[in-house]
């Protein structure tokens, strides 16, 4: 069965390591914070200028001066630091963040990503997404494998305007965990109960399939 949003987040959380500085994008990536294993510590970077984002505030703790990149009220974790936007993106652009998780509309076999703009639709902007994809070595893209109409989002070539070129190496969809290298998608894991054939059917870009494709473990 295809993974739920929570399960996608949960599988991503398995990639976290103790001591990681992590930037989580809006949407599914945000949910990753709920699945951080108990035995490790990670610090969440919010690109509006906060390293060490805590949980949402109680009603009493709400502070208009303390929000995350999604403009939600948040708190600070112990050991947090605050900085201006240039410093925040110096961190991101300079490759100091250990893991970045963000959503996308499309990715392709060359590691290109399209995530901010659908021509003809209202364009709200790229926010910090272009900086994040250009700055991070270690990115996991989370998305559904295909549209509701069964149109693949894992392509030979992205059709939408790009957010970044050649920067994506790992994609976690509701069907599969995929690595991008040598101009191909490499199938690493499949969602429990999802067959390799299901994944082939919904993957437009070239897919390399090893003999054994394990199911994801939760």
């Amino acid at each position: 069965m295809a993974l739920s949003r929570e399960q996608i987040a949960q599988r991503v959380a398995q990639e976290l390591q103790d001591g990681y500085y992590v930037n989580l994008g809006i949407g599914i990536p945000t949910l990753v914070a709920n699945f951080i294993p108990d035995n490790i510590n990670v610090m969440l970077q919010s690109e509006n200028g906060l390293l060490g984002m805590g949980q949402f505030p109680s009603e009493e703790e709400i502070d208009a001066d303390l929000i995350n990149a999604g403009k939600q009220t948040v708190t600070m974790a112990k050991g947090a630091s605050i900085f201006d936007s240039a410093e925040s993106f110096a961190m991101i652009r300079g490759g100091h963040v250990d893991l970045t998780v963000l959503g996308a509309f499309e990715v392709d076999v060359n590691g290109n990503i399209a995530s901010y703009m659908i021509p003809g639709k209202l364009i709200k902007g790229m926010g910090g997404a272009m900086d994040l994809v250009a700055g991070a070595d270690n990115i996991i893209v989370t998305m559904t494998h295909a549209s509701k109409h069964g149109v693949s989002k894992l392509l030979s070539n992205c059709t939408l305007p790009l957010t970044g070129k050649g920067c994506i190496k790992r994609v976690l969809t509701d069907l599969a965990f995929i690595e991008i290298k040598d101009g191909k998608f490499h199938l690493l894991e499949r969602a429990p109960g999802v067959s390799v054939e299901d994944i082939i059917k919904l993957t437009e870009g070239e897919l390399a399939i090893p003999v054994n494709v394990p199911e994801m473990q939760f």
């Binding site: 919010s46 690109e47 509006n48 200028g49 906060l50 949980q55 949402f56 505030p57 109680s58 009603e59 703790e61 709400i62 502070d63 208009a64 001066d65 303390l66 929000i67 995350n68 999604g70 403009k71 939600q72 009220t73 948040v74 600070m76 605050i82 900085f83 201006d84 936007s85 240039a86 925040s88 993106f89 991101i92 652009r93 290109n112 703009m117 209202l122 364009i123 709200k124 902007g125 790229m126 926010g127 910090g128 997404a129 272009m130 900086d131 250009a134 700055g135 305007p161 790009l162 957010t163 970044g164 070129k165 050649g166």
Partner: protein, 239 residues
């Protein structure tokens, strides 16, 4: 002290000299740390044809959004917009020019503008629509594009505390673009919650030195929250 006393006592005085078709750089992220009263003063002045540089453009009735109904903004340079209906309408109708700029590039453009750096290379935006018309170059095998700096006729800033010399301290994530914008204005106007005596701020803990500040005014702030999200429910409710 007279020469360094940046305090003005009215918003009219704070924004004196702002005229049509100028460029204004505004601090703030979403509705957090925005110079809300300085924005309202621009609305009241009715200045038109402005180029705004700001990460966002407020909402319909708050923040930079209040400059939309009277068509005061000609162009906005921002990373993320469209949180309000009138903005969408003007953008779709071609009445408002929107130059989308990646958030980190925007921050760096302001800093560079203030720091006398006319242009810098960044990997951000390479191979995307942002790169169109810009020089591309490789350094150590990676691709970069050349981005030019931004300066403004005015910069409008919200800080937490200041002394009369214009030394500024920001509070929590209300800092965001404010210290950068402060460096990039020919005239930098700051509104704060509290003005303290000169000497009261720890020199080691000043975020923006007064040299960047031209005018300073104490205001009261609504500080509207865009996404009030609390722990009990963990559900975001838009305001």
């Amino acid at each position: 002290m007279a020469g360094f006393d940046k305090v003005v006592t009215s918003y009219a005085e704070a924004m004196a000299g702002l005229t049509d078709n100028m460029t204004v750089i505004a601090g703030g992220f979403g509705l957090c740390g925005i110079p809300e009263n300085l924005i309202n003063e621009i609305k009241h002045k009715g200045t038109k044809g402005l180029t705004l540089v700001s990460n966002n453009c407020g909402v319909d009735d708050f923040g930079l959004g209040v400059l939309l109904p009277n068509r005061q903004i000609k162009k906005i340079i921002a990373s993320y917009v469209g949180e309000n209906a009138e903005f969408e309408r003007q953008m779709m109708a071609g009445e408002l020019e929107v130059e989308l700029t990646p958030q980190g590039t925007l921050a760096e453009k302001m800093r560079a503008g203030g720091a006398g750096i006319p242009a810098f290379f960044t990997a951000t935006g390479f191979g995307t629509p942002v790169a169109i018309g810009k020089e591309e170059r490789q350094f150590n095998g990676r691709h970069y594009i050349l981005e030019e700096s931004i300066t403004g006729d005015f910069a409008i800033i919200k800080a937490w505390k200041a002394d009369r010399y214009g030394n500024l301290v920001f509070r929590k994530t209300a800092r965001n673009f404010n210290p950068l914008a402060a460096t990039a204005g020919k005239i930098t106007v700051v509104e704060v919650e509290e003005i303290v005596a000169v000497g009261e701020l720890d020199p080691d803990q000043i975020h923006t030195p007064g040299i960047y500040v031209d005018r300073l005014i104490q205001g009261t702030f609504e500080k509207r929250i865009e996404q009030r999200t609390v722990r009990s429910s963990s559900v975001a409710t838009g305001e």
